[in-house]
Amino acid sequence: MRLALASLSLLAAGVAFAEPGDRHDFDLFLEQHWADAESTLGAWPDGGYGKLRYSPNGDLESSTRIALDYRVQIAEQLFGRVVVDYIDDADEELGATEAYVEWRPLPAGPARHRYRFGAFYPSLSLENSDPAWESPYTQSFSAINSWLGEEIRTIGAEWRLSRPLTTEASPHDIDAFAGVFYGNDPAGTLLFWRGWSVHDRQIRLNEHLPLPPLVLPGWGGGPPVVIERTIDPIAEIDDRPGVHVGAEWTYAGRAKLTLAFWDNRADAHAFRDGQWAWATRFWHLGAQVSLPWDLGLVAQWQRGDTDWLTYTTNAGTTMPETALVTDEFESRFVLLTRAFGDRHRVSLRRDDFRIWRPGDITADDGDATTLSYSYSASRRVDTTIEWLEIDSRRDLWPALYGQSVAGAEEELLQLSVQLGLFSSAD
């Protein structure tokens, strides 16, 4: 803890004082959470089936995140960005969530090109617009963006084309983007194993996340196999690049619509270093609209599928090819938010999600409601109190679990204080 704090502080201090600051732009903040969870399932970061980040152990759970979002101008048209954080309840306490360079050539006509190289989030979430991919609206992210934070990261290149601010007045801005990435082959594993979730925990590059134990039927009448392991969602397994493409339309800073397609193009038979590839692809739709009375609406919808075709054991033995898992998944949410001056914000979000597989088996089916109130005592101190309720159910293999359905009602009351330690805006 002390070492981590010292490293981050040194980094920030270095950033702040090494040079006159105008080529640097950064935010360093500390976020402290206190949470009271109620659930019949264990928290997923502890390897449970629950959808919450915190354990329902009767005590107040707490966690700390210290994050540095650092942006630098390397050359006239070349920029860099690194987001590093310390999370006290992670196995690897220090990590980086994003690290990339961006080439921004000067527009010479009616087209603006931007290129990113490195590790970054694909441009999907409309919720996570704050530094270090936090949400300005709620503490916990929607189910869709919780999953993007856990399992989706681009390590590759992305090209973005914008119709720029031309001399011809128009309220319409059109963007198109396309990316090629390596890694992210196991993406979909956690979604299949545990189901959807609602939280604010982002995976860092080269971090492993625990999976709940899963019982699989034994082969050839053998005993059931219990798999208990961790997942590295960002790993490259089959050496096949994945792709994402999308388009974004913005109307006069008042409405935004995005459509994207993401496909890791994984070889669903591949297995390497204890990690399986899951062929995962999805469509993603996002909308953001300014409503009357200064209400803001954010909505996202996602639908896709994930295949895991070969049962390869931990020992590396490949079983005969069979469609072991073919899951389809879908989630959507609507968030309403209203800022009251500079100090107060109230947000309400409704999530709906499901995962299903052939044979009408419900792997996950539920909804979540999040109500959040934030108070900014000053530019440096934000306090959020949030109530979250998730109802879900899933079909089980009765022979293995002794019951056919597992339903859970999970509840979380969370208090968060975010303290700005340094900012280039200071």
């Binding site: 105008d22 006239e76 000067l106 617009s129 601010l165 031309t166 938010t337």
Partner: protein, 225 residues
């Protein structure tokens, strides 16, 4: 060159003489302009300029140096009107760098500006609209409107403005708004100005105007890190 009134767009053209306040010996006239949207509401921030059709010498009276500020990741003002030949300085009051550029035909340039520094004034010698962007902050947007006359102004919140100090004679009046495509702007109109009198001209847009540009946040965040 004839200055036909646009048939489709022109709602009202009134060149009625009115009594000017205080009939002084200088006897300068004026033009009062009011711009309305298609619902009859006032349109602020419309650039109005009047060019004398009688002046024998070209009016190239450059103004004193003008300024296009950058503060809180926005250009200030959003629309800056200058006369041909005016030099504009670019003070950066932000704590980050900006890289201002234009690829508009009337003036093409790009330069970086350190934080709390001012880029030396550059001249705008060709009439026209110059769109400014920042290559570091894609949301930043501003217009420099370069006019070939010393008689210009922007409409206020009530959609009105008065050009004053005009010598009597014939004038070509033009308007420009960032909220509508150039092809939907009205053609220039000819207006006679008599000594000590204020002519009035009212124009109503037939086409729907775009919403005004805004960079401030509402309840939603529009630009992402």
């Amino acid at each position: 060159m004839p200055h036909a009134f646009p048939k489709s767009a022109l709602v009202a053209l009134l060149a009625l003489p009115a009594l000017a306040a205080g009939e002084t010996a200088a006897a300068a006239g004026g033009i009062r302009v009011r711009i309305l949207d298609r619902d009859g509401g006032p349109v602020p921030e419309v650039v109005v300029s009047a060019r004398s059709l009688d002046a024998t010498t070209a009016l190239r009276a450059a103004m004193p140096e003008a300024r296009m500020n950058q503060e809180a990741l926005a250009f200030e003002p959003h629309i800056l009107v200058v006369t041909t030949g005016t030099r504009i300085a670019f003070p950066n009051e932000d704590d980050v760098r900006h890289h201002v550029y234009s690829f508009s035909p009337a003036k093409q340039f790009n330069f970086s500006i350190d934080s709390m520094a001012t880029h030396e004034a550059i001249g705008f010698d060709v009439p026209g609209v110059v769109t400014l962007g920042c290559n570091i902050h894609d949301e930043m947007l501003a217009y420099v409107v370069v006019v070939d006359t010393p008689h210009f102004a922007k409409t206020g919140p009530d959609g009105s403005v008065e050009l004053t100090g005009l010598e009597s004679g014939r004038y070509e009046l033009s308007i420009w708004s960032s909220r509508i495509a150039t092809k939907h702007l009205p053609d220039a109109v000819e207006i006679a100005v008599a000594a000590s009198e204020v002519a009035t001209w009212e124009y109503g847009f037939v086409e729907k105007l775009h919403p005004p540009h805004r960079h401030s946040e509402t309840s939603l965040h529009w630009s992402h890190y």
